[in-house]
């Protein structure tokens, strides 16, 4: 069976004048499940933020330890303080849990109805009212397929424009019409999240009256990437490592001139350095047939890590230097397998760069951290 990958994007706005967003989103990916927990703290600012953070953190850690949802919900609802005057809980709770077989469970407690965007149509994610530990919640399960998209929004989005541009606010039907008319199932999750949040901000005339959050989860085929960087310790291993690189699923990338020469020799294919695009900082890229990208090594990797720290800029960038191209390919992948060679690299045997080997380990560690922070699954194998 082809396992699908949940691509997740979160877009948020804070209430005008507030620095902290009172909505909180916690994403946890494990082998067993991917869970997204969303909480909207009553009010805004610090207090709302703390309540929402508490709610999402507790929920997420309980779910990670495989505590069933039927137990998690009462634990949370009983722990959460209730507003004395308004008799409502101090924060809402919404859970979206996806199993590896694409079975999705949605739980809503005082939160807006979840959207299901399937084949261009938008419908409420099917849920039923349930009573757990004296609390009315809604819960539903549905088997998702490739291209299915789940959208969850906080109250701030539902009420966008209320009393201003829109008498009753944007509201659920308005948002669902916007999704159906202006978003496509082919769009990536981030594009949809940014679009909806952009409209929301527009209805608020750029002055959000409430914290607003959009979470988009799209199921698609997983994208893998194998990165081979640095010559292997032992020359006899060259062939085997190149075979691993070429046999891997998905994109294939080589970072390092000496590494590129090894791949070229093993495959019997030439390396062509591209002199057409010149960049003052990043050495030029090269091409080898059947590889998706060939770049220089340590300088390009270091710059690519920098680019991964600013995804918005990366997405908008028109630069075509090796670091930007590499960062983009890495960003687009869900799973990255790094084959890192440990040989003393001849290109680093320059008296001007001492201790290069430690630097290499450091660069790979930084790369791994940057990718994991973006929710990627990364493996590093020293060869």
């Amino acid at each position: 069976m082809n396992r699908l990958y949940p691509e997740i994007a979160v877009a948020q706005l804070s209430k005008a004048g507030e620095e902290l967003c009172g909505d909180k989103v916690e994403i946890a990916r494990t082998e067993a499940a991917t869970t997204v927990v969303i909480s909207d703290g009553l009010g805004s600012g610090v207090k709302a933020n703390i309540l929402a953070t508490l709610t999402t953190k507790i929920t997420s850690s309980l779910l990670k330890r495989n505590v069933p949802i039927t137990e998690v919900v009462p634990t949370i609802t009983q722990t959460l303080p209730v507003c004395r005057e308004r008799k409502i809980a101090y924060s809402t709770l919404q859970i979206i849990k996806l199993l590896p077989d694409s079975m999705a469970t949605v739980v809503e407690f005082d939160s807006p109805t979840t959207f299901l965007f399937r084949g261009g149509q938008v419908v409420p994610f099917p849920t039923e009212a349930r009573n757990i530990g004296g609390k009315a919640i809604r819960e539903g399960r549905l088997l998702l397929g490739e291209g299915d998209i789940i959208v969850a929004v906080s109250d701030g989005v539902i009420h966008a424009g209320i009393g201003g541009l829109l008498k009753l606010g944007w509201d659920w039907p308005g948002i669902s019409a916007e999704l159906a008319a202006h978003c496509s199932p082919a769009d990536d999750a981030e594009k949809i999240a940014e679009h909806i949040l952009g409209c929301c901000n527009g209805y608020y005339l750029g002055q959000p009256g409430d914290d607003s959050t959009v979470v988009v989860i799209k199921l698609r085929r997983p994208r893998n990437l194998t990165l081979f960087t640095g010559p292997p310790a032992n020359r006899d291993m060259d062939e085997q490592i190149v075979k691993r690189l070429m046999g891997g699923e998905g994109k294939k990338v080589v970072a390092g001139g000496t590494t590129a020469n090894i791949v070229s020799r093993v495959l019997g294919l030439p390396v062509n350095v591209d002199l057409n695009y010149q960049d003052p900082e990043i050495p030029p890229i090269a091409t080898i047939d059947n590889l998706d990208l060939v770049t220089e090594g340590v300088l390009t990797l270091t710059a690519a890590i920098g680019r991964l720290h600013d995804i918005r800029k990366l997405r908008a960038s028109a630069r075509r230097d090796g670091a930007t191209l590499l960062a983009r390919l890495l960003y687009e992948a869900d799973r990255i397998d790094i084959l890192a060679g440990t040989a003393v690299n001849p290109a680093h045997q320059n008296p001007n760069f001492p201790a290069q080997i430690n630097i290499k380990a450091q660069v790979i560690a930084n790369l791994r951290n940057a990718l994991e922070d973006l929710g990627k699954r990364v493996t590093v194998e020293w060869v």
């Binding site: 390092g256 390396v271 220089e296 001007n352």
Partner: protein, 78 residues
Amino acid sequence: MSTLLVEICLGTSCHLMGSQDIIDAIESLPPDKRGKIDLRGVTCLKTCRKGPNARINGVVLSEMTPERTLAVIEDNLP
């Protein structure tokens, strides 16, 4: 028309030692000369300690500068 093969190393070490300046110098030669040069980049000539390195007509030359490279090219142009 026969051309002169000029390969400039663009590996990490040579890049740091200024191989891009050599490329720039060759690129800005007048068209009649530039047209006779088959300029290519290579990734490492395994003499990193003595970069930037170039290979002109198959001969590896170390510790190159733009001026030296242009002089060698001048001597070898077909």
